[in-house]
């Protein structure tokens, strides 16, 4: 019987350590997982900086996770099944929940309301688990959740124009780019990204660098950066009648030019998590894993995660960091 597991622990004073967390024993409707890989998301970094959204301390973050079922008392999953974790924990009884889990008025997330993926074992409700396609590598399956987010964002944008400006080429920006070109390979994607390693990745994947010396407005601008003025910058750079798709969470309240939005007939679209895209993302990863391989640029062992997270602000990764558990 597994009673404890190694886990990354975030204390309320925002100190991080590798410690042990007690595991409850799974009951019917739950499964015990041996987690294999977890992804580091920008929102994890936000929580590490701020402590926002956490319900119980110490927290174990990480909502992009894949693992193998070790025990499933209700029999919903066969032992040995590889599963991807659905990060959303909706309340189940609000008006939003009747439409989609991501519209829940009290939506919480794995890693904040229940221990997340930065641990070796987890007990989770089976409703949060999706069986992986046979043969899908765990190291690729770990991208399912953020890819679902990117797919949802692109779905929210509606019909894609011939040119798109992407502001910010962190992991979610890269996934949005990948999803846009998966759907329409010939779309012209321009990227504005100050980090040279991230820009190098964007160019390798077929994007072009946005040249500020030749500013031009684009029909769709995706804000995947989340800096203080990124939404305002996106509005400046979108064509009249165009769309600003806000994917990154701003770290502070922002001020918008309401008059400009009205007079220029702009669409400002937000997108929270994903709706029904998670299985679609898993199928896309399974269909062409090599397409997504370059997006994972760094992998660390759980025992090295505290050290890596402590210098992540000064040494941001080129792409997605994944954690071997």
């Amino acid at each position: 019987m597994i009673t404890h597991t190694d886990a990354l622990l975030l204390e309320q004073d925002l100190t991080l350590s590798l410690g042990q967390r007690e595991l409850t024993q799974p009951v019917a409707g739950q499964a015990l997982l041996r987690l294999e890989w977890a992804g580091v998301c920008g929102s994890d970094l936000h929580v590490i900086r701020t402590g926002d959204w956490v319900n119980t301390w110490p927290a174990t973050l990480g909502h992009e996770a894949v693992g193998v079922v070790l025990d499933c008392p209700g029999g919903e999953f066969v032992v040995g099944t590889r599963v991807v974790v659905d990060s959303r924990v909706p309340c189940g009884d609000c008006h939003g929940c009747t439409q989609s889990a991501n519209l829940c008025e009290r939506l919480a997330w794995v890693g904040e309301i229940v221990p997340g993926g930065f641990e070796r074992h987890a007990v989770l409700d089976v409703a949060l688990l999706h069986a992986c396609p046979e043969g899908l590598e765990a190291e690729i399956a770990v991208l399912a959740e953020p890819l679902a987010v990117a797919m949802h964002a692109v779905n929210r944008a509606g019909r894609l124009p011939e040119s798109v400006l992407l502001i910010g080429y962190g992991p979610i920006g890269a996934l949005v780019h990948s999803e846009i070109t998966r759907r329409s390979p010939h779309i012209n994607v321009l990227v504005r990204e100050p980090n040279p390693m991230r820009l190098e990745l964007a160019l390798a994947l077929g994007a072009r660098s946005y040249e500020p010396s030749h500013p031009m407005r684009m029909p769709l601008v995706v804000d995947a950066a989340g800096y203080a003025t990124s939404v305002a910058d996106s509005i400046d750079l979108v064509s009249n009648g165009g769309t600003v798709l806000v994917v990154a969470i701003p770290h502070q309240p922002i001020t918008l030019d309401g008059q400009g939005i009205v007079e220029r007939s702009l669409n400002i679209i937000g997108c929270n998590g994903f709706a029904d895209e998670l299985p679609i993302a898993m199928a896309a990863l399974d269909a062409n894993p090599d397409r997504y391989r370059p997006l994972i640029t760094e992998a660390v062992l759980l025992e090295d995660l505290v050290a890596r997270l402590s210098d992540i602000a000064s040494r941001p990764p080129a792409g997605k960091i994944v954690v071997r558990l």
Binding site: W37, E137, E139, M197, E200, L201, L203, A204, L205, G206, D290, R291, R293, P294, I296, T297, E298, A299, V300, L301, A318, V322, R324
Partner: protein, 359 residues
């Protein structure tokens, strides 16, 4: 055995058999045994191969590709020869410059194909032992007196140690002008920025130099088999004359052109390899395991393959046994995809804690 069979068998007596790297027991990404590119070729290469598939009835025409590559390299087409992988070039060089009564100079250990083609030519083979993984350039230059060809892989395979531009210039000045120096730069793209020799300057000064490259490593076209030589027209011309016609096929030509048209992919891939190499070497330092600091997409590590094998098997990984490469007691680890390298580091830590006196 029949008389003809006996004749054939005697021709290959003493020739080592080339053994390719073994596949991993897990996913394909776990194969760290053949110095392949972990991310593969850029997306445009697949598109080009699909397009090339429409014309299998036509003989390949390499003129446009040679023109494109020559422009990329800053050389004339008369200085460039495409070959079916750089290994075909090894055979052509041996055929052209080596024969019974002639001498070939190699490092020890050396790249296996250089050794094979030299032996097959019937030439006398002089092996000059490496010193701390590096070519002993002074001893090689001395051995090159009366030699017809000298094979100089840099970065060296399997040690990964590279010769600097300055060392190379001094060495080339020592080597007789009638000895061909084959500078095999299969792994040069992975060298630290600023350490790769200035090939144009070297070729201008040393007409007996031939630079050998492959599209298999940083350009990730190993399965297509494309390599090339850069040298003086007086060398390239005769080599072209003995190269079988159409030895570089249409798919290889299409893939090469597409790859060269997307240099950003190669730059990104090389950057990832350099990062992975730095991480692995830092880990080996931390574990106290001996290795040769590498300028290539692999690291030669002083661990016996048989001791590490159970840990690799459990992790679903394969690396190359040094015994295959003239370095028994060592392993050669190709730098793989980031998650694969994390899995490898996990296996190395487990091995190191279980077998603390390794290396």
């Amino acid at each position: 055995m029949t008389a003809i069979g006996d004749l054939a068998a005697r021709r290959v007596v003493g020739l080592p058999t080339y053994r390719p790297g073994k596949p991993s027991t897990g996913s394909a990404a776990g194969k760290l045994s053949s110095n392949e590119s972990p991310l593969g070729a850029g997306p445009s290469v697949s598109d080009a191969l699909r397009a090339a598939a429409g014309h299998p009835h036509r003989y390949p025409d390499d003129s446009a590709t040679r023109h494109r590559l020559a422009a990329e390299l800053g050389v004339t087409q008369s200085q460039l020869l495409l070959t079916n992988g750089s290994d075909e070039l090894c055979y052509l060089i041996a055929q052209m410059f080596l024969a019974p009564g002639k001498r070939a100079v190699l490092g020890d250990p050396c790249y296996a194909i250089d050794n094979t083609v030299s032996l097959l030519s019937g030439a006398d083979v002089v092996r000059v032992p490496l010193v701390r993984g590096a070519h002993d350039l002074r001893a090689m230059a001395a051995a090159a007196i009366d030699a017809s060809a000298l094979w100089l892989p840099s970065p060296h395979n399997p040690t990964g140690v590279a010769v600097s531009h300055g060392e190379l210039v001094l060495f080339l000045r020592e080597v007789p002008a009638d000895c061909l120096v084959v500078l095999d730069q299969a792994y040069h793209a992975f060298s630290s920025p600023g350490t790769s020799p200035d090939v144009a300057a070297l070729l201008a000064e040393f007409p007996n130099l031939l630079v050998q490259r492959t599209m298999s490593k940083d350009w990730a076209l190993a399965g297509l088999r494309v390599g090339y030589a850069i040298a003086a027209p007086e060398i390239i011309g005769p080599l072209s004359a003995i190269r079988p016609p159409f030895s570089v096929n249409s798919f290889a030509l299409a893939g090469l052109s597409a790859a060269v048209d997307q240099p950003a992919w190669q730059a990104m891939s090389v950057a990832r390899v350099r990062e992975g190499r730095a991480l692995l070497q830092a880990e080996l330092d931390s574990l106290g395991v001996e290795y040769y600091p590498s300028e290539a997409n692999f690291v030669l590590v002083h661990i016996d393959h048989s001791e590490l094998a159970p840990y690799l098997l459990e992790a679903g990984l394969s690396v190359r046994s040094g015994a295959d490469l003239g370095m028994p007691g060592w392993i050669r680890i190709t730098i793989g995809w980031a998650p694969t390298m994390a899995t490898l580091i996990d296996a190395l830590r487990k091995f190191s804690s279980a077998v603390p006196n390794n290396g």
